[in-house]
């Protein structure tokens, strides 16, 4: 059966369908067994045959003589009729159970599902990627604002403020993840940068030279750009 996996997709459809059918049949088999167990098969065939005979007797009363040959034939066919009726009952039971649970397994297969453990791992992976992204964007921003002291900041104050706000929003989502997954080093550096962005987000006008100088000193004293690079490399190596 496994051989069909190596077939080209267009030829695999039929074996796939058969395999799926067998799997689904397997799923309902236990319920059928339970239903079948509740039937007294020895008595059932006799009962069905008796009822068939009773119906025949009625018809015979209406015209006994001409139907004698048919009556004798029915008598000879009694075991066959019983078997046929039992088959019908069994078929109906199978249909009932199949229709009663349309895709208990198939429903799960059609919808989305993922374990909590997997979702935690996915969030950890997301935290790692987003932290790298946040640090990269922060680097651009800090360089742009602070690395051209003589020329003044390249971006207009309003744009700078908007970018800072957007980074603050990203950081808030990151906080939950960095705390949950105990990414302490990344959290510490992200927190320090966050304070700077909070300041930048509030300043709608161009930064006065003195203010700019103060913030630049802060970044240099704490070697923020170097720390960002180191943490970023660490996070990237987890790829």
């Amino acid at each position: 059966m496994d051989k069909h996996k190596d077939m080209p997709p267009e030829r695999r459809a039929e074996p796939d369908a058969i395999e799926r059918l067998l799997r689904e049949t397997e799923a309902v088999r236990s319920e059928i067994r339970e239903a079948a167990a509740s039937v007294d098969w020895d008595a059932l065939s006799g009962l069905i045959a008796d009822r068939a005979m009773a119906a025949d007797r009625e018809r015979r009363r209406a015209g006994a003589a001409p139907r004698r040959a048919a009556w004798l034939a029915a008598l000879r066919m009694r075991p066959v009729l019983a078997g046929l009726a039992a088959g019908l009952v069994l078929g109906a039971a199978v249909m009932y159970f199949v229709l009663r649970a349309p895709g208990g397994g198939a429903g799960r297969d059609e919808g989305y599902h993922a374990s909590g453990e997997f979702l935690d791992r996915a969030e950890l992976e997301m935290a790692r990627r987003n932290a790298v992204d946040y640090l990269e964007k922060s680097q651009y921003m800090l360089r742009e604002v602070f690395e051209s002291p003589d020329e003044g900041p390249a971006a207009p104050a309003a744009l700078r403020s908007e970018r800072a706000r957007s980074l603050l929003q990203k950081k808030r989502y990151l906080n939950s993840q960095l705390e949950r997954f105990q990414m302490a080093k990344a959290k510490a550096i992200c927190d320090q940068i966050e304070m700077l962005f909070r300041e930048l987000a509030q300043i709608d006008d161009d930064l006065p030279a003195a203010e700019l100088g103060r913030i630049r000193d802060y970044i240099e004293e704490r070697q923020l750009l170097l720390k960002i690079n180191l943490v970023k490399k660490e996070l990237q190596s987890g790829v």
Binding site: K5, P9, D109, E110, G111, Y112, H113, A114, S115, G116, F118, L119, R121, A122, E123, L124, E125, M126, R129, N130, D133, S161, A164, R165, L168, Q169, K170, R172, Y173, N175, S176, D191, Q192, M195, R198, E199, A201, Q202, Y218
Partner: protein, 286 residues
């Protein structure tokens, strides 16, 4: 006449000078206290920063900086730990200020949600409305964050209430990061809502397609690992596979890039990779 004019000028100069002398030291002092407090907040020296803020508000209660300091007071109280309810009050007072800065208001709203989340998880049920009420907030930044955070609460019934806002993010948001967060949050609280939201989106290469992964251990019929998620999360999902499975894939010469490329090219084909220990990883999209 000239004497009178000189007298008036002198009085004005002296008066203005006196006023300046009275105002400037106060302004300078309030300003310097505020700056010092912020610098201490930068360095997470919460206790010292809180002392400066208290000094500022005690000595200069009518200074506009006393109002602004409320936000930083909230930061200090949150940072100190054990004083979350006071922090919550500080942030709530800050957002009521007429001259509150929009960026700090947004920050305060987020901080309120975070604090309420922490308190709720510690057993304070009374703070849940702080998160719930923000699901209808006019600012989508606040609304989205409240929904995301609510999806993480351990009370599953409460967490499920985040589903409508999260579904809306999936349907309307363009930002890839926000979309992925909303998808994962929905997979956690209401996978069926995620399916409906994805189905309502216009069908493109990446939407309304399901990535399926099954990992079967050697000789076993039932998969040890089973996953059905939107194809849009495929890259993330493959990156989040168990380390053992990732190692098995690497041994067979597969990395995430190669798998993604083969899946995209095969359009419905099954990628079946057998590990050396008899395990089988099946990955397909439909």
């Amino acid at each position: 006449m000239r004497t009178i004019a000189w007298t008036i000028c002198f009085a004005l100069v002296v008066g203005l000078g006196a006023a300046a002398a009275r105002d400037n030291p106060q302004a300078a002092t309030a300003d310097s206290l505020f700056r010092e407090a912020k610098l201490l907040v930068f360095d997470k020296d919460w206790r010292a920063a809180l002392d400066k803020i208290d000094e500022l508000t005690d000595r200069f209660p009518s200074s506009p900086l006393a109002g602004q300091a409320l936000f930083y007071k909230g930061e200090c109280l949150s940072g100190l730990g054990g004083r979350e309810r006071e922090a919550l009050r500080a942030y709530k007072s800050y957002i009521q200020l007429e001259d509150a800065k929009p960026s700090l208001v947004e920050e305060s709203e987020g901080a309120i949600v975070d604090l309420a989340f922490g308190l709720f998880e510690e057993g304070s049920g009374s703070v849940l409305p702080e998160i719930m009420s923000r699901l209808d907030h006019p600012n989508k930044v606040v609304r989205y964050y409240a929904a995301y955070k609510l999806s993480l609460v351990s009370d599953k019934k409460a967490a499920a209430k985040a589903a409508p806002v999260l579904s809306r993010i999936v349907e309307t948001e363009k930002d890839a990061e926000l979309l992925d967060r909303a998808r994962i949050a929905l997979l956690r609280v209401s996978p069926e809502s995620l399916k409906s939201a994805e189905d309502r989106k216009p069908r493109t290469v990446t939407t309304a397609r399901v990535l399926r992964i099954r990992v079967r251990e050697g000789g076993k019929k039932e998969p040890a690992f089973s996953l059905n998620i939107p194809f849009a999360l495929a890259d993330l999902a493959l990156g989040a596979l168990d380390e053992g499975d990732k190692a098995a894939l690497r041994k067979k010469g597969y990395d995430i890039g190669k798998i993604m490329s083969e899946l995209t090219k095969s359009k419905g084909g099954l990628l079946r990779i057998a590990g050396n220990d008899g395990s089988i990883i099946e990955i397909w999209i439909d």
